[in-house]
């Protein structure tokens, strides 16, 4: 039974199958909301309401010619998209959706999994950098250096702001943090500042406007993805979509009280909460214009990091007060 559960967990929910379907749905949702915010239609014709559009894009990319540049490091260049996909899918398994026991930590939910998931979410950035660097294109190289520059900006505020609810809940385990806030929903409120910071940092991690600097098409063509085409680009795009799901799932688990109620009700919680966060991210995308890479670093260290420290301070004081 346990083996079957694990297989279900790995392959169906929240494993590969669910991730593929749900991440394409999230991309559709993001695109549709973004389009509606701009008074446009968004995807309309592929499937009902254009629901199948991201899948159609994926399939189309799979069918396209796959080009590896002469000068590129061929094995690295080809391996990285698959590796990236594997990393984010692994991160998805750590989300506390079901198949965990609060009392007994297991393979998918253990003390310190919040750190592991954050680490796994940092890897795609490095993978993007390596991908850019190995393609040897000038634009890619610039994009790669921008990826790393940005990483130094947003990573610290993200860690600080995600860890502050954990400190309040006194646990390094996602399931326990979620359970803590389910019991005391009012304590979500002091973390609101952290939530906003985490949203901005996640936006930067996902490289979406205003932080789409590494692949700013009007400046450096495709940036990191300039030389990628066909299957490899499709995998990278899927990776970004899954990263979107995982990152919003993480924020939902940490800040919005997780996904209580077992597999089915938890699923409803999961969908509603992640879609809410994706809506906020889409709104942020529509609200702003792309900023420069030096402005990102300045924003992160001048505003986000001090505010995240402030958030930590609030949480620590509150904890002392509650005791």
């Amino acid at each position: 039974m346990a083996v079957l559960r694990t297989f279900l967990y790995l392959l169906v929910y929240p494993g590969l199958l669910f991730l593929f379907v749900y991440s394409t749905f999230c991309e559709w949702f993001d695109r549709k909301v973004y389009a509606r915010l701009q008074n446009r239609m968004g995807p309309t014709h592929t499937g009902r309401f254009g629901l199948l559009q991201p899948i159609a894009d994926f399939v189309k990319l799979l069918a396209k010619e796959d080009i590896v540049p002469e000068a590129a490091d061929k094995s690295l260049f080809s391996l990285l998209p698959v590796f990236g996909l594997a990393v984010v899918s692994t991160a998805a398994l750590l989300l506390p959706v079901w198949n965990f026991d609060l009392a007994a930590p297991g393979m998918t939910s253990f003390s310190g999994d919040i750190i592991v998931i954050l680490y796994l979410l940092s890897l795609p950035t490095l993978i993007l950098f390596l991908a850019a660097w190995s393609s040897t294109n000038l634009f890619s190289t610039i994009g790669g250096s921008r990826v790393l520059t940005m990483l130094f900006g947003y990573e610290v505020p993200l860690f600080l702001s995600v860890l502050s609810p954990a400190i309040l809940a006194n646990s390094w385990r996602l399931a326990e943090i979620a359970a803590f806030y389910q019991k005391k929903p009012l304590l979500i409120l002091p973390n609101l500042l952290g939530f906003v910071i985490a949203l901005i940092a996640v936006q930067a991690k996902l490289e979406r406007t205003p932080f789409d600097i590494p692949h700013a098409e009007t400046e450096i063509v495709g940036g990191t993805f300039t030389e990628y085409s066909g299957k490899k680009l499709a995998f990278f795009r899927l990776m970004m979509d899954i990263e979107l799901v995982v990152a919003s799932g993480l924020l939902a688990a940490v800040f919005l009280g997780g996904f209580p109620g077992g597999a089915i009700i938890g699923f409803v919680h999961f969908v509603i909460k992640t879609l809410f966060i994706i809506f906020l991210l889409a709104l942020l995308r529509a609200l702003t214009s792309r900023i420069r890479v030096d402005q990102v670093v300045r924003l992160a260290w001048k505003y986000l990091a001090p505010l995240a420290v402030l958030q930590l301070l609030i949480v620590i004081l509150l904890k002392g007060f509650l005791k």
């Binding site: 002469e70 700013a216 702003t288 890479v293």
Partner: protein, 400 residues
């Protein structure tokens, strides 16, 4: 460490082909070079083989956005050569279209600036509202882009009362929207952070490099042909020349929005003063040998046509100076010491219309419709063969 990055001739930020070679050091541009000639159609040579009437449509096709500007500039000159004076109503309608075109061009530019800065919502909204003025132009002239309303001695279509009311209504909406965009453009922190202080061009540089149009006006030069050398109806209009002295891209946005508001004012004045009467007088087919310099304030700056006739029904020489060409030296100056991220913004800030600026050599056989069907497999085989013979590029210059 310095290396060169090519912006263009094919680049997502450029809608038309031009090549900018940037010598960059990290993210900072050290030097820039411009190479033209990817979009030559040989218009000046071609114009010498076409009649005056045909040349109206030819000059209209110099540019897709300021099409009316070039045609009007040409027609103004030819009317002087032929010594005919168009009737008042015709002139009013001609410059009504020209102001509507300025509105459409500036709204388009605002959207492009937003897009280059990655501000896609701004882009979508400005272009949505640009549809209003496009529809108005379609209503008046029968086409959205190439209005073809000019003819020698006047205009081809009249404006009736219903159209007049529709234009006034559209302008009222647009005025409200433009003010809103001004509010957005001046207040959205991420956008202002991208355009303020970027692409500096001091007044001295602007003067010595002969910058024109909003680029010059944003550097504090009040040069507007409509005021300086008022042609046709402009000495009867009450308007101001919008300037800014911040010398950066933000200043260029401000100048263009100010010009939008002034254009609404002019359009309303034209419609209210619209005199009755004919719209066109008959023009001869030939012009006496003479020469004329025709100036016109296009949305991007000053258009200048030098037309020389030789007594036949074709021009002896037609020299077209589009505003974008005049702004290139200034652009190179602006790009220096900027960031890579600023390239599209700075370049877009002159509102480049590359096909305007390039028109001279008659080389490209667009008309040579030699079409042979190549099967995909053949294409592939050819590509592979070429690839085999090509020298390996392993030792390509590695920037770091």
């Amino acid at each position: 460490m310095k290396f060169q990055i090519p912006i263009g001739p094919q680049h997502p930020a450029l809608k038309e082909p031009i090549s900018l070679r940037m010598t960059v050091e990290g993210e900072v541009i050290r030097d820039a070079d411009i190479r033209l000639g990817y979009n030559h159609r040989g218009l000046e040579k071609l114009a010498e083989e076409k009649t005056w009437i045909q040349n109206i449509y030819l000059t209209e096709r110099i540019c897709g956005i300021c099409s009316h500007s070039h045609a009007t500039c040409f027609v103004q000159g030819v009317e002087k050569l032929m010594e005919i004076v168009p009737p008042k109503r015709g002139l009013y309608i001609r410059y009504l279209v020209s102001e509507l075109e300025r509105v459409h061009s500036h709204l388009l530019w605002l959207g492009v600036a937003g897009h280059e800065a990655g501000f896609d919502s701004f882009f979508m909204y400005t272009w949505r509202d640009r549809e209003i003025v496009m529809d108005l132009l379609e209503l008046i002239s029968g086409n959205r882009v190439h209005y073809a309303i000019n003819t020698l001695g006047g205009v081809r279509r009249d404006v009736d009362e219903g159209q007049k009311a529709k234009i006034l209504e559209g302008i009222a909406t647009l005025r409200k929207r433009s003010e809103y965009y001004f509010h957005i453009g001046a207040n959205e922190p991420s956008f202002v952070g991208r355009i303020a202080g970027v692409g500096l061009l001091t007044k001295e540089q602007a003067v010595s490099l002969c910058a024109v149009g909003p680029t010059a006006r944003a550097s504090g030069i009040t040069r507007d042909v409509r005021k300086e050398d008022p042609y046709a109806v402009y000495d009867e209009m009450d308007f101001e020349v919008g300037t800014a002295d911040s010398c950066d891209v933000l200043g260029r946005v401000v100048v263009r929005v100010k010009e939008l508001l002034e254009s609404y004012k002019i359009i309303e004045q034209i419609l209210h003063k619209l005199p009755a009467g004919d719209i066109v007088v008959k023009a001869p087919r030939k012009a006496k040998p003479n020469e004329v310099v025709s100036r016109y304030e296009a949305p991007r700056g000053e258009n200048m046509h030098y037309i020389k006739s030789n007594g036949t029904d074709k021009p002896e020489r037609l020299k077209v100076r589009a505003p974008t060409l005049a702004n290139y030296p200034a652009t190179v100056e602006m790009l220096r010491h900027g960031f890579i991220a600023d390239i599209p913004l700075i370049f877009a800030a002159i509102d480049p219309c590359i096909c305007c600026a390039e028109r001279t050599v008659s080389l490209v056989n667009v008309r040579n419709g030699e079409e042979t069907t190549v099967r995909l497999s053949d294409l592939r085989r050819r590509a592979i063969e070429q690839h085999k013979n090509a020298p390996p590029k392993r030792n390509a210059v590695w920037p770091f």
